[in-house]
């Protein structure tokens, strides 16, 4: 037996497949096809949580995503999810769930003291109470959060895998109820690519919970099954069940979350748990149905008080009796459907309390004919029962509907099914910025003008509640959507059905009680956020007028709730209080997500070593095998240094740096950006983008260039070589390869379209091996057929030759100040040539060096690194590089260099810095001051940009950007460091600390 309240047969559950589950540690049995909520009700469990603020006992209210109370924590750490709605959670063998808003237990809850202290927790309580002192908020928040309880986050990393994908379709249909199925059929039959999204695991929508609807003369679910079969056979139709369309964005973009494995007892290893669909559609049909509105009556939050449609759903779909003796409370015809279905299921219906003067309407009349006790013109004025409703109190409603008269009758019951009307589910329509219209007849907001022309609404989501209307509108909208994407659907054929809706109704936003509002009873508007009618009225009395402000002040309809149950009631209560027509109050903003989504889907597989690309050079595997430690340079992973056994970074770098100066080092420089420049105007082009002159560079020669932005600030630097009369190879810094190419293309395409120049990135065409050191030429002579004499291949010269038998480009350029060759070979040969170099270089003690040693070596020479010595606010004159700035020609950034501010003598200028104590290495970023004050702040002159221990200079060296630094040479400055230490240092005559005449690299 799967619960004492289970009907022996019927419904969309499998009575032969019981499932075991636990709730709050207690074991229960349910059936395959149950939601957790259905299985709990089948076991007679109504009490599922405590309310957010007052910790009142709360029960299951609905059977869908609008559930305000049955929010549970599912699973065990680390597979634990908060805020899952028990009404949407498919039961699976072994499921374990717990109430998330009760401590120590749902049966005995310490926080319930709040309930007796309720008068102390009015609307805006947090704003009023916890504001002072502001600094204490962090302390308050900790306790508020703990007491309020929103579930708990897992404490460990998520062990599951998540997927995300792009997708495209012609027609998106949201919701697979009668309207959605009809729309998908019409669009699919026309040949359109259709995505049909359904949050449930079954298609059919409200029909799954209906008792005796007919379509084309047959049971409605037969039609649903036939429609599903037909849709599944259409190759262009994709049906996504267990998928929530959580957000609608611009230009037909939708976010969907598919639950792939949560309903499986054992999730297969190869499947992701959830999947994010980033769907782009040309047309959309919203068939998202409607949500029944509860009535706002006194103490309407006791467990056992449910919406009438939820009761029908539990009885008809899940074969569960949510109670033994029920009272129906309604203000429209649809409440009687629940009464009739309950009678059919053997639930005693003690009375139907109807706020309308007369029980009119098709279902009302059938109930009357069936002999039910109907109490017209009456309302529930209160309820009783501690953890479950035990009785209701009923009285006559006055003519105005704002008070009660006469004697109060008490009716014993354990279930109250209530209906206050229906609201179309317009969340996605409104997220798409669609405008709503107030439908006076049905008392609800319905879609009016869609902001995105490609969007339609159909069926109950469009305010057309009858089954025939749903089928007809759905078919029509599906056909029209298909036609708008170029598919001829012909005249849509609508299935036939009855077309009754829930009229007539007597619309009450606030059901009066025999006690003053807010005294000894609470009228809940939003049970999830614990907002009462009295809270709303207090907000109005305190001067809030805009509904958006009332929402924020009272928190009604906030967060995961998004106003699904309470918003229209709240708006109605505010409108009545102001004495204004309801549509004038307006609606609050609908925001995604419609229901909570997991964070995992947004990460997808982009985690761990797929978080970001790791770019590898052709020689990367060698570096790994030889113990390199790596440094991230952009997305590249470059060897940082190569520690030998027992060596620390300092030791390794010292050894590498000395090896380069004393014999021979080798660097993998493949990451440098390389741009191939061809065309008759190539030299002219370079002349315009670099600060120096390029027209007269000889073929076979290299030149260093500085590139400025339009603002005159240094943007990039590098060596460019003239390979042919009309052919150049530019190198860029590693990190700037892509931005520089974009910058050059921008100018070429928009400013100088007359220049005949083509640019092609060739960064990765070549592996670049840099040999550097006094023995570089000797090794080159052994492995290359190039003519290497200083006359044939001088400093800043280029030749094409073979290296290790491989065709190569050899550039004699140097970033270390040593005799250097940069060898470019085709990338696929990079590893082979590197290995040949290493073997042949053994006799010279060839030493691979990484980026750290490269930095030290260039700093010894005073060479800048763009991005280290510069930060986008440094111009060439600041770098004391006026020698490279042409006075005679134009170039990008030139005009900016003459701005007054650029010529100020107190700009920060790059200078060499030497500490007075040669052993002291300044930290990079250290601030420099002229005078040390007792404590900060003190006037700062600038900061250290580069600082190293230089084994070749036998001391520390540094560079710094210092205000008016070029005029301060020889002066003493101070670097006040953390902890009170002060390092005195001197502005050097020059930042070139090693081989100032450059004889070594020119030799």
């Amino acid at each position: 037996m799967s619960g004492r309240m289970r009907l022996p047969h019927g419904g969309q559950v499998d009575h032969n497949k019981p499932l075991n589950f636990t709730f709050n540690g207690k074991s229960y049995r349910g059936l395959t096809g149950d939601s957790l909520a259905a299985a709990l009700l089948a076991n007679g469990v109504h009490l599922v949580g405590r309310s957010f603020k007052y910790h009142r006992p709360r029960g299951i209210v609905t059977a869908g995503p609008e559930e305000p109370n049955a929010l549970v924590q599912v699973g065990e750490d680390p597979r634990s999810d908060p805020n899952i709605k028990a009404t949407q959670l498919e039961l699976v063998e072994g499921l374990s769930a717990a109430s998330q808003n009760a401590w120590p237990s749902v049966e005995f809850d310490v926080g319930a003291i709040n309930s007796t202290a309720a008068r102390l927790i009015p609307a805006g309580f947090y704003y009023k109470t916890f504001m002072w002192p502001a600094s204490a908020w962090k302390t308050y928040e900790h306790f508020i959060r703990r007491a309020a309880g929103l579930g708990t986050s897992p404490s460990q990393r998520d062990p599951d895998r998540y997927d995300k994908t792009y997708a495209h379709c012609d027609v998106l249909v949201v919701g697979a109820g009668p309207a959605g199925l009809a729309a998908a059929l019409a669009a699919g039959r026309a040949g359109a690519r259709v995505v049909l999204v359904e949050q449930d695991h079954l298609l059919g929508g409200a029909l799954l919970s209906a008792s005796e609807e007919l379509i084309d003369g047959n049971p409605a679910l037969d039609w649903v099954r036939a429609a599903e079969t037909e849709l599944r056979q259409m190759p262009g139709v994709r049906i996504l069940t267990r998928t929530i369309a959580y957000g609608a964005f611009d230009h037909g973009f939708f976010g969907l979350m598919e639950n792939v494995t949560d309903h499986l007892e054992e999730a297969p290893e190869h499947l992701p748990r959830h999947r994010l669909w980033k769907l782009r559609t040309k047309q959309t049909v919203f068939c998202s149905g409607s949500i029944e509105r509860p009535l706002v009556f006194a103490d309407n939050d006791r467990p056992g008080v449910m919406t009438a449609s939820a009761v029908q759903s539990y009885v008809n779909r899940y074969a569960v009796k949510p109670g033994k003796r029920a009272v129906v409370f309604t203000n429209n015809d649809s409440g009687y459907g629940a009464a009739l279905d309950m009678v059919a299921a053997g639930i005693e219906v003690a009375a139907v309390v109807d706020a309308r003067p007369m029980a009119t309407g098709p279902l009302s009349e059938r109930a009357e004919a069936a002999g039910l006790r109907i109490l017209p013109d009456r309302v529930i004025v209160g309820t009783e029962g501690r953890k479950r409703v035990s009785k209701v109190r009923v009285a006559d409603l006055n003519a105005e509907g704002d008070g009660v008269v006469g004697a109060v009758e008490e009716i014993a019951c354990d279930l109250v099914a209530n209906s206050g009307g229906w609201n179309p589910t317009v969340h996605l329509f409104c997220q798409s910025k669609g405008k709503l219209r107030w439908d006076e007849t049905h008392a609800c907001f319905v879609p009016d003008q869609a902001m995105q022309a490609s969007q339609r609404s159909a069926g109950a989501a469009n305010g057309s509640f009858g089954l025939a209307s749903c089928l007809g509108e759905g078919a029509e909208a599906g056909a029209a959507a298909a036609a708008d994407t170029g598919f001829d659907a012909g005249a849509p054929v609508a299935a036939e059905a009855e077309d009754r809706d829930f009229l007539p109704g007597r619309w009450l936003w606030l059901v009066p009680s025999d006690k003053p509002l807010g005294k000894k009873a609470k009228h809940f508007v939003d049970q999830q956020n614990d907002v009462t009618a009295a809270d709303l009225k207090l907000a109005l009395r305190e001067g809030y007028i805009s509904i958006e402000h009332v929402k924020r002040y009272t928190t009604t309809g906030m967060a995961t709730d998004q106003g699904k149950l309470g918003n229209v009631n709240a708006i109605g209560i505010v409108a009545d209080a102001f004495g204004r027509p309801l549509p004038e109050v307006g609606v609050t903003t609908f925001r995604p997500p419609f229901t909570p989504v997991s964070f995992g889907i947004f990460a997808g597989r982009d985690v761990d070593d797929l978080l970001d690309p790791i770019r590898r050079t052709p020689m990367h595997a060698w570096h790994e095998r030889n113990g390199a430690l790596f440094e991230d340079v952009g997305q590249w992973r470059r060897p940082w240094y190569y520690p030998q056994y027992g060596e620390d970074m300092h030791g390794a770098v010292n050894r590498e740096v000395k090896a380069v100066r004393e014999s021979l080092g080798v660097l993998d420089a493949s990451t440098l950006g390389k741009i191939d420049i061809q065309g008759p105007d190539a030299a002219e082009f370079l002349n315009r983008v670099y600060t120096n002159a390029w027209l007269k560079l000889d073929v076979g020669r290299c030149r260093y260039g500085l590139m400025l932005g339009e603002d005159g600030m240094v943007m990039d630097d590098g060596v460019t070589t003239r390979l042919g009369e009309q052919h150049f190879l530019m190198t860029t810094t590693t990190g700037n390869a892509a931005p520089v190419l974009a910058h050059l293309e921008d100018y070429l395409q928009t400013e100088w379209p007359d220049l005949k120049v083509y640019l092609t990135s060739v960064t990765e065409q070549f592996a670049t091996i840099t040999l550097s050191g006094p023995n570089a030429r000797r090794l080159m002579a052994e492995i290359s057929d190039a003519e290497l004499s200083p006359n044939a291949l001088p400093h800043m010269g280029f030749t094409a030759a073979r290296v290790a038998g491989v065709p190569a480009r050899i550039f004699r350029i140097s970033f270390t100040g040593e005799l250097s060759y940069e060898i470019n070979v085709p990338a696929s040969f990079g590893m082979a040539v590197w290995q040949t170099v290493m073997t042949a270089g053994e006799r010279y003690g060839i030493t691979p060096y990484g980026t750290e040693s490269m930095h030290v070596l260039r700093a010894e020479k005073g060479y800048i690194i763009v991005g280290q010595e510069t930060d986008g606010s440094v111009n060439p004159l600041d770098l004391d590089m006026g020698w490279i700035v042409s006075k005679t020609k134009d170039f990008i950034g030139k005009r900016s260099l003459t701005r007054e501010d650029m010529l100020k003598p107190d700009r920060k200028q790059l200078v060499g810095i030497l500490t007075k104590d040669p052993e002291e290495v300044l930290p990079e970023g250290a601030q420099l001051v002229e005078q040390v004050l007792k404590e900060p702040p003190m006037p700062m002159l600038g900061h250290v940009t580069s600082s190293y221990h230089s084994p070749n200079c036998g001391r520390s060296i540094a560079m710094a950007l210092v205000k008016g630094g070029l005029a301060k040479k020889g002066e003493t400055l101070f670097a006040p460091l953390e902890g009170g230490k002060v390092v005195p240092c001197v502005v050097a005559d020059s930042p070139v600390f090693f081989d100032p005449d450059g004889e070594r690299m020119r030799g």
Binding site: Y166, H270, R280, G604, P613, E764, S828, F829
Partner: protein, 203 residues
Amino acid sequence: MVENYLRQSALAHLGLEGRAATDEAEAPVRLHERVLPAAVNLRGDSDDPGFLEAVKLAAGLDLPLAPNTTRGDERRAALWLGPDEWLLLHHDAEPDAESRLAAKLREALAGRHSAVTEVGESLACIRVAGPRAADVIAKGCPLDLHPSVFGGAGRCAQSHLAKTAVTLHQVSHEPAFDVYTRRSFSDYLWRWLSDAAREYAEA
């Protein structure tokens, strides 16, 4: 003559050749590296009939002029990259095919404003084939790969796949796609594609 065995493809370090042999022909998704493509990036004026004629003579291929179309077959192809830009590809070719093709083109285009640049060494090519190939690519590429939109076999496009820039070339209706990315990104892209294909591996 340079020894070809010294060359290493972009994904050589993964030792894929042994694994590829175990791939089943019926698998919903099959990944493999097409090693060492020869490729030339060509820039020139498509309004100049002389340019088109010269390229045809030198490369033996008509240049596609409609956006995102290709000429040739899966072994030798010309891909449209822009109004004045093409990628000429030659798979399973001799090691010097790239430089010979470039030389022939340069000779044929001498005196005409154009640019011929060898780029095959900079490329990695990953073949994604099988009934779910498009689904795997769609996980990281925003393009609509449905034949009614993408155009089916013989179409190409430049986009991004995961966090890499790619050129896609649909080479068969199966479908099969050749995914070109820059060499340094190929290790990441291979691992990403393998992970994305995982859910179909056991289908």
